[in-house]
């Protein structure tokens, strides 16, 4: 009897879990839709911007290089990490952290800037220097998040405290696949630039470049934020779907066991009554 009550309680618990995870799944689905739209919509803009930037750069001679393109001899790296605030999104964070750790082992002298609470402690555990950390938030990242990050990048890169700026984030390829990637942000790589096809600049290329590159920098960071957000929601949706499926499976198994136990109890009672009646009949 006690055993049956216990089973009943466990069935209820698993049922509740499945309800919670199902709700979280639905939330992730609706957020994912928005995130996916924003991410895909942002891609053509960033691609165009990068092609324009490269085109302008091709027009410049070495003397008029912009500060964002100049290499300096500082051996420090500024690493910006974009990660979710909360867990419950499958292997996403584990993969990201693994990538960070391997990066930290390969490269020395790293300064970190994190967005998202989940990786903050990882950086401190690594014994690396954390210069700033921001919250990622649970809604679609707004462009305003980029400004303080860009400010810090400027402060460190322009004063030559760091030689390179990199971003570690997750790239949203599809709902089922999000890969951690490392992107070089600064200095802007000059090796891939083709020659320029523009014949006219208004104002002159030298004046046009600073706002263009600044905008390019901000938009690239923003696009990475969007990709990370979409990845988080995608991973969360899949993880919660799996959790719901597992919980329902447990409910089914327990229900089966409970039914068996109940049947056994009834059979035993009938046997009792039967044997008692049998004894009376012979007296």
């Amino acid at each position: 009897m006690a055993n049956l009550l216990l089973l009943k309680r466990r069935i209820k618990a698993a049922g509740n879990v499945s309800k919670t995870t199902k709700a979280m799944q639905m939330i992730a689905v609706s957020k994912l839709k928005k995130a996916q739209d924003a991410t895909f919509a942002g891609r053509p803009y960033v691609e165009k911007l990068s092609s324009i930037s490269q085109n302008v750069l091709g027009k410049l001679n070495n003397e008029s290089l912009h500060v964002y393109m100049k290499k300096n001899d500082s051996k420090n790296n500024l690493v910006i990490i974009l990660a979710p605030d909360k867990g419950l999104c499958g292997g996403l964070i584990t993969n990201l952290i693994r990538r960070i750790v391997s990066f930290n082992n390969e490269n020395k002298n790293n300064l970190y800037l994190t967005v998202g609470k989940k990786v903050e402690s990882t950086i401190t555990n690594l014994g690396a220097e954390l210069i700033a950390s921001f919250k990622f938030g649970s809604t679609l990242p707004s462009f305003n998040m980029v400004l303080p990050i860009a400010q810090i990048i400027d402060e460190y890169f322009l004063s030559r405290k760091v030689g390179t700026v990199k971003i570690i984030s997750t790239n949203f390829t599809s709902i089922f696949s999000q890969k951690p990637v490392i992107t070089d942000l600064l200095p802007i790589d000059l090796s891939q630039i083709e020659s320029s096809s523009f014949s006219l600049f208004e104002p002159l290329a030298d004046e046009l470049l600073p706002p263009l590159l600044r905008h390019y920098l901000e938009m690239t960071i923003y696009q990475h934020l969007l990709e990370s957000y979409a990845s988080e929601q995608g991973a969360k949706m899949v993880a919660m779907q799996n959790a719901t499926d597992n919980a329902l499976e447990i409910v089914q198994d327990l229900q089966l066991e409970y039914n068996k136990g109940r049947q056994e109890k009834i059979t035993n009672e009938i046997l009792d009554i039967g044997s008692a009646a049998f004894t009376f009949a012979y007296e």
Binding site: Y45, I52, N144, S197, F198, S199, E202, P211, L212, H215
Partner: protein, 137 residues
């Protein structure tokens, strides 16, 4: 010979079509682009962008961004753009009031910068919306 014209913002591609003529506000003054224009890169300022296709004029509000012309393909990269007929006057008025409030209070540099951008956007939207309404009447 036509121009292939597109306006891309971070949110979406606002406009993509073959057109005859484009008038855009740039930092060095308003320019009109006709087919076979020389390849050009320029910075645009907040203002009104007019696209002419056949006898049709399409008015758009754009905030700052960049414009490139490459072999009769014109692309505008704008932080924000909206077609004149899509402007919601009530919403723009509201946004302007909100921005004014933030600017009158003691705010951080960041908040001010955002409010200022909102303000420019709202004023521009209102200006183009009213101008357009008069024309329609």
């Amino acid at each position: 010979m036509n121009l292939l014209f597109e306006i891309i913002t971070p949110e979406k591609v606002i406009y993509k079509d073959e057109v005859n003529e484009i008038t855009a506000p740039t930092v060095t003054g308003e320019i009109t682009i006709l087919p076979n224009h020389v390849n050009l890169l320029t910075q645009i300022t907040p203002g009104e962008l007019i696209v002419k296709k056949g006898n049709n004029l399409q008015h758009l509000a754009v905030t700052g961004g960049f414009l490139e012309i490459q072999n009769n393909k014109v692309s505008v990269l704008a932080e924000y753009a909206i077609k004149a007929q899509d402007i919601e006057v009530a919403r723009a008025t509201e946004a302007k009031k909100r921005a004014e409030k933030v600017m009158s209070e003691k705010s951080t540099d960041n908040e001010l910068r955002v409010a200022q951008a909102e303000m420019i956007k709202a004023i521009l939207e209102l200006k183009i919306a009213t101008k357009h309404k008069k024309r329609a009447v």
